[in-house]
């Protein structure tokens, strides 16, 4: 037992020694990458149910796209009820978001990385048609609201917040998280058998990627070899494992 205490003390000492304050991120992509680097799983999804149970609150998600880690078509996040102070809701059924989640701790409790900063709401970006004569044909994009990350960027007091009112598409978030394997096309987690080959964008430097940069061109993309399973091929950060990329014209129906 004494040896165990010594070991713990040593580990604690090491941990304390490594505790260094980090400077804030300076760009939105860096802030996204910061979140992702500490998240065990990142996915885009929608809240389908909220179930308070004892001292935890279970939040059920329909997973639309996995960006990091492994998740099935549904995902349940179990949060310590202490975060829901006074019953204050942190999520709502129907809410769509990209979630950066810590790995579950002992007995399965988890939460978003950096609290609710690790939940990027997926919100509309345009106003809708006004009436029957409106001939708007644009498919309204849903994108991640990154305002909460914008306010975390390093700046001096009184310096305007950079990056407010911008949004990142899921593909752009994916590109930031895994620039070498940026998937443009949502990779559905349902019906994994026989799904189309995932299509990936050219490698980009996350430090230089800006929301003002338009999304990668839709007609020229880079494909990689088909993954062998559904697990995010980008989850492993070892560059040596990155499959070699080739270029070819994107098929006409690759948009779905």
């Amino acid at each position: 037992m004494r040896q165990l205490r010594h070991v713990i003390a040593l580990i604690t000492l090491l941990l304390a020694a490594t505790a260094t304050a980090q400077a804030p991120d300076t760009t939105l992509p860096a802030a996204i990458l910061n979140l992702a680097s500490r998240a065990a799983v990142v996915f885009a999804g929608e809240v389908t149910a909220i179930r308070p149970t004892g001292d935890v609150v279970a939040i059920d998600f329909r997973v639309d796209q996995v960006l990091k880690g492994a998740a099935t078509a549904t995902f349940t996040l179990r949060e310590w009820a202490g975060l829901w102070t006074g019953g204050q809701p942190r999520y709502a059924p129907g809410e769509r978001a990209i979630l950066f989640l810590n790995a579950p701790g002992k007995n399965g409790i988890s939460s978003p990385v950096d609290g609710m900063d690790g939940v990027l709401p997926l919100t509309p970006t345009i106003a809708g048609p006004t009436g029957p004569s409106d001939n708007m044909t644009t498919a309204a994009p849903i994108a991640a609201n990154v305002d909460r990350l914008a306010v975390r960027l390093q700046r001096q007091q009184g310096e305007p917040i950079r990056g407010l009112d911008t949004s990142f598409s899921i593909a752009q978030i994916a590109a930031v998280i895994h620039p070498a394997f940026a998937p443009i096309i949502p990779t559905p987690v349902r019906n994994p058998i026989g799904r189309p080959l995932p299509i990936f964008a050219p490698q980009q430097n996350p430090q230089t990627l800006s929301p003002s940069i338009p999304a990668p061109q839709q007609n020229t993309v880079i494909l990689v070899a088909p993954p062998t399973d559904l697990v995010d091929p980008l989850a492993d950060d070892d560059p040596a494992e990155i499959p070699k990329t080739t270029t070819r014209q994107r098929p006409a129906d690759a948009s779905r």
Binding site: T18, A19, R38, G94, N107, G128, P132, G158
Partner: protein
């Protein structure tokens, strides 16, 4: 401010204070029923004015000993111990054990803490401060890795209030200090102290505050004074480097705003005044006011900031104190779609409407020696970034936007102890609460026939209740978009929920058919969208449109749309596809129609109809057996409506069309008795094509179809495949009638001749000859016929000349086709030609003539009774005279003077000598008037039994004379 107003204001605030429920903006929570038993709208404060915290007995980590950690915690807590607040936050001791993941874990149901950390132990240990040396406690509660040093800005200090008392107090809280966030640098420990200070504020119930917000936003360069008055409880730090405390001037000093909130929540009063404390009301004034719409309704969620003008100085260029309107008002009253919320926070506030726009600043300091100062109250919207964990006061959701233009109100010369009221209604705010006729739960109203409508949710608790009828096997989408004052979609106005019931469902229940779980779930800003599945039978639905929070305001305008495809025609096409017509509601330009998922080419779109060309059977991936879904998609909103199994492709050819009937000849202006009729068959040539659109066209001479009152109609075949319409030509000529089956283009034609009808009008009255100046009355008639048949009921318009009088100006023909009226005159000048004219069909006329004959042209003749010679005992027959004009036309109304003498019968005169004159036995004179035949009848003057000679002379006009003699012999 007038004295009366001051008194009223003072009474109002005193009432609030007396109720011990009202506090200024700044508290984190407010009480609300049913969880809290306290008066709703009261600030939730710690249950004691002397809360004690107990620290973990372990070290914070290898670098920071227990004692050092305690010192740091004491410094953070001490910030909240100020003279103007009765609160005293002190350390009560240490916990019984070092808290680690060994004694803190989740057992599958409950998060197990050491006993003295548990909320049930709040009387002994109200606040437990845990030194999470290795981060394992945080990792246990927040997930593995949550304690990592790179996350220390968020997880350096974890706070949780886990004990509330229904009496309206905070009983217990946890503060977990992440040992992994402090290394060898003193700045790191200071950073934790800064985070802990703010966390202490949070667990004491102090809310975030928006004041001098440009310090945070950088919208304008902040001055030193603004930085100095940026509250400690600002929602979000500015990150100028690794340590946020370095990004704030005097980070461990409460600002006036923080102190005001603290004085609100934990006031020092005469009753609790102790050594080292001063009355919160000392050297201060209280300020409150209403933010309202022009309708008088309070406007909540408006941040109110106060600047001072200290006596004999210029107005401050920085904001001193903030409050938020409606903080005490009920945050969520529930709605008919999702019901009432259950959590304590969601139900906070009072339903009292007078609190909806109320803001209160309880302790505004009087600065300077003069004892008075002026106030500048300014309204502003809550920064949208301040929601959720960073929410201002109780507005945890995205804050509602301000309506109108923010304003600044000046209030001068307020003094120590004053209770000032300053209302600050925004300018140009939404000004009507008229929701129109938008139904009730028990009496919903039909939607606009186009499927597009605009509504207003006003006032609180108001919901709109439309109703719709839906046919079976049709999906549909309901969309409602909250819009701002400019009509643009907004997420800062109403948060709309949609619910659907069957119309027959009882009221007062939650939606039984469908509902949106949350607002703003659409793909465009401000939109809430509900997709409804098809039903197997026709249904009538009741719909509710409501604000999620149960709010209703003059600026809660929404635009709604029911995207619903009701009918498809035709329901079967040839293999080559063809034209289809969808009728429904909520369509718009830009909608896409698909057949079995394959797009159809849009030809035209209105709100209620889309005409498109369906793809071929092959292109639609269909076969001759089976039916395709027909869907209308809105690519922008994602809304859709589908008629399931609506369209089939039949056979290999196109539909056939054949002529059933067509008139050979029609008369202009008359609907044809024979309709233009066609029969449409499927490609098999025998099966009637039902519901098939067919276009009727009349070309050549002008003509219209009765079915649409136009020369081109698109009609739909009936169950027998038949379609028909009568035809009316408006001009003579040759007509070409064409019927085109729109899905396949097959057509059939017929030629029709349009002719004008043969119409006659005949004057039935012969010319009338009147004696000059003779009054007369006579009938005038015309007869009307069309195509040799009398026309009954036709109006005849009558006119007359030369002063003739007519009994009527319009008469109708009788069943014989005759129209009659009476004409009259009081006498015409001789030589006059007058007329009476009757006209039918406006232009077709007949004229009767009247001639007035001058007296010089009157001629009198005897036409009966002349030459009589009878015995004296017999009686003479009457004499008939007639007056005519020179050409023999009998004259009506001519006066005739008659002279008669009776002479004795003289016998034969002697052959020589004078023949003696016969004696006159009798004579007479009379005047008669000719009848319509120009006649008068004279009765001879005679003496019975006396042989005599009767001499008669008649005179008329100036020239007419006649004489004759009658004899009565012995």
């Amino acid at each position: 401010m007038p004295l009366d107003s001051l008194r009223r204001a003072g009474c109002f605030l005193l009432l609030l204070l007396a109720a011990a429920t009202a506090h200024a903006g700044g508290p984190r929570w407010f009480t609300g029923q049913p969880f809290y038993t306290a008066n709703p709208g009261s600030a939730v404060t710690f249950f004691t004015l002397t809360p004690r915290y107990f620290t973990d007995p372990g070290n914070l980590n290898a670098n920071v000993t227990h004692a050092q950690a305690d010192a740091m915690v004491a410094a953070a807590a001490a910030v909240w111990n100020v003279p103007t607040s009765a609160l005293t936050l002190t350390q009560g001791g240490t916990l019984a054990e070092h808290v680690t993941s060994d004694n803190t874990y989740f057992n599958g149901t409950t998060v197990v803490f050491p006993d003295d950390v548990k909320a049930v132990n709040y009387r002994a240990i109200p606040i437990a401060v845990i030194y999470d040396t290795d981060g394992s406690v945080i990792d246990t509660l927040l997930g593995s890795g949550a304690s990592t040093p790179s996350g220390c800005r968020q997880n350096g200090v974890v706070e949780s209030v886990d004990g509330f008392d229904p009496a309206g107090t905070i009983d217990h809280a946890l503060l977990i200090l992440n040992g992994r966030c402090v290394g060898s640098s003193p700045d790191q420990l200071t950073q934790m102290q800064y985070q802990l200070m703010r966390a202490f504020g949070r667990i004491l119930g102090v809310g975030w505050s928006q004041l001098n917000d440009n310090v945070f936003t950088g919208a304008s360069v902040p001055t030193a004074a603004e930085i100095a008055h940026w509250p400690v409880m600002h929602p979000i730090d500015v990150l100028c480097g690794p340590y946020s405390w370095k990004c704030m001037a005097q980070p461990f000093t409460l600002r006036t705003d923080d102190l005001s909130t603290l004085a609100n929540m934990y006031p020092v009063t005469a009753a609790n005044l102790t050594s080292g404390k001063t009355l919160s009301s000392s050297n201060a004034l209280a300020l409150f006011g209403q933010i309202t719409f022009p309708t008088g309704q309070g406007m909540d969620a408006v941040n109110v900031v106060l600047r001072l003008q200290v006596s004999f100085t210029n107005p401050d260029a920085f904001e001193m104190i903030s409050a938020v309107s409606g903080a005490m008002h009920q945050q969520n009253a529930g709605n008919p779609v999702s019901g009432k919320p259950v959590s304590a926070t969601a139900r906070s506030g009072t339903p009292n409407g007078t609190q909806e726009g109320l803001y209160v600043m309880q302790s505004v300091p009087i600065i300077g020696p003069s004892g008075w100062e002026s106030l500048y109250v300014t309204t502003e919207p809550i920064n949208p970034l301040y929601s959720g964990d960073y929410a201002i006061a109780p507005y945890i959701g995205s804050p509602t936007g301000i309506s109108g233009t923010p304003t600044t109100i000046y209030d001068g010369l307020e003094h120590n102890g004053a209770v000032a009221r300053v209302d600050a209604p925004p300018q140009n705010a939404a000004s009507t609460c008229n929701t129109g006729r938008d139904g009730y739960e028990t009496a919903p109203v039909p939607i606009d026939p186009t499927g597009w409508w605009t509504g207003l949710l006003c006032a609180d608790a108001h919901a709109s209740w439309p109703t719709v009828n839906v046919k079976p096997n049709r999906t549909w989408t309901l969309e409602a978009t909250a819009v701002d004052e400019a009509g643009i979609g907004s997420s800062a106005k109403a948060h709309l929920l949609l619910g659907v019931w069957k119309s027959s469902d009882p009221s007062g229940t939650l939606p039984t058919v469908g509902a949106t779980p949350s607002p703003l779930n659409g793909r465009v800003i401000g939109m809430t969208q509900l997709s409804m599945a098809a039903t197997t039978t026709a249904q009538s639905f009741r719909i509710a449109i409501a604000d999620q929070r149960g709010h209703g305001r003059p600026d809660f305008v929404y635009k709604a749309r029911l995207l619903y495809a009701d009918t498809l025609a035709p329901t079967q096409l040839g293999v080559g596809g063809g034209r289809i017509t969808l009728t429904g509601t909520g369509f718009r330009n830009g909608n896409v129609v698909t057949i079995n998922g394959v797009p159809a080419a849009i030809i035209s779109t209105t709100a209620t109809q889309i005409v498109a060309t369906a793809p071929t059977m092959l292109a639609a991936n269909m076969t001759a057996t089976g039916s395709a879904d027909v869907t209308v998609n809105d690519p922008t909103t994602g809304g859709s409506t589908t008629i399931q199994a609506a369209l089939s492709y039949g056979g290999t050819g196109i539909d056939a069309i054949s002529l059933v009937s067509a008139p050979n000849q029609i008369e202009t202006g008359l609907a044809s008795s024979t309709p233009f009729a066609v029969h449409v068959f499927l490609s098999d040539g025998t099966t009637p094509a039902t519901g098939t659109p067919v276009r009727f066209t009349a070309s050549g001479a002008a003509a219209t179809f009765a079915a649409c009152n136009a020369s081109t109609c698109t009609l739909t075949t009936d169950a027998n495949g038949l379609i028909q319409s009568a035809l009316t030509a408006t001009a003579p000529g040759t007509l070409t009638l064409t019927a085109t089956e729109l899905s396949g283009g097959a057509s059939v034609q017929a030629t029709v001749t349009a002719v004008d009808p043969v119409r006659l009008i005949t004057a039935l009255s012969a010319p009338l000859y009147l004696a000059a100046a003779a009054p007369a009355t006579w009938p005038v008639s015309v007869h009307v016929s069309q195509d040799a048949a009398s026309v009954a009921g036709l109006p005849i318009i009558w006119t007359a000349t030369n002063g003739l009088n007519l009994s009527l100006t319009t008469t109708l023909t009788d069943p014989t086709g005759t129209a009659t009226l009476t004409a009259s005159t009081t006498g015409l000048v001789g030589g006059t030609h007058a007329t009476v004219t009757g006209c039918a069909w406006i232009t077709l006329c007949a004229t009767s003539h009247i001639f007035s004959i001058d007296p010089a042209q009157w001629v009198i003749t005897a036409i009966g009774g002349t030459g009589q010679s009878i015995t004296a005992s017999s009686t003479l027959a009457p004499i008939t005279l007639q007056v005519t004009d020179l050409t023999g036309h009998p004259l009506q109304g001519a006066p005739v003077s008659i002279y008669q003498t009776v002479d004795a019968l003289q016998g034969v005169c002697p052959t020589a000598g004078r023949c003696p004159a016969a004696p006159v036995l009798a004579s007479s004179k009379q005047t008669l008037t000719t009848d319509p035949t120009g006649r008068v009848t004279i009765t001879p003057l005679e003496l019975p039994g006396i042989p005599s000679v009767i001499n008669i002379a008649a005179v008329t006009g100036t020239q007419g004379f006649l004489s004759l003699g009658l004899t009565k012999t012995p």
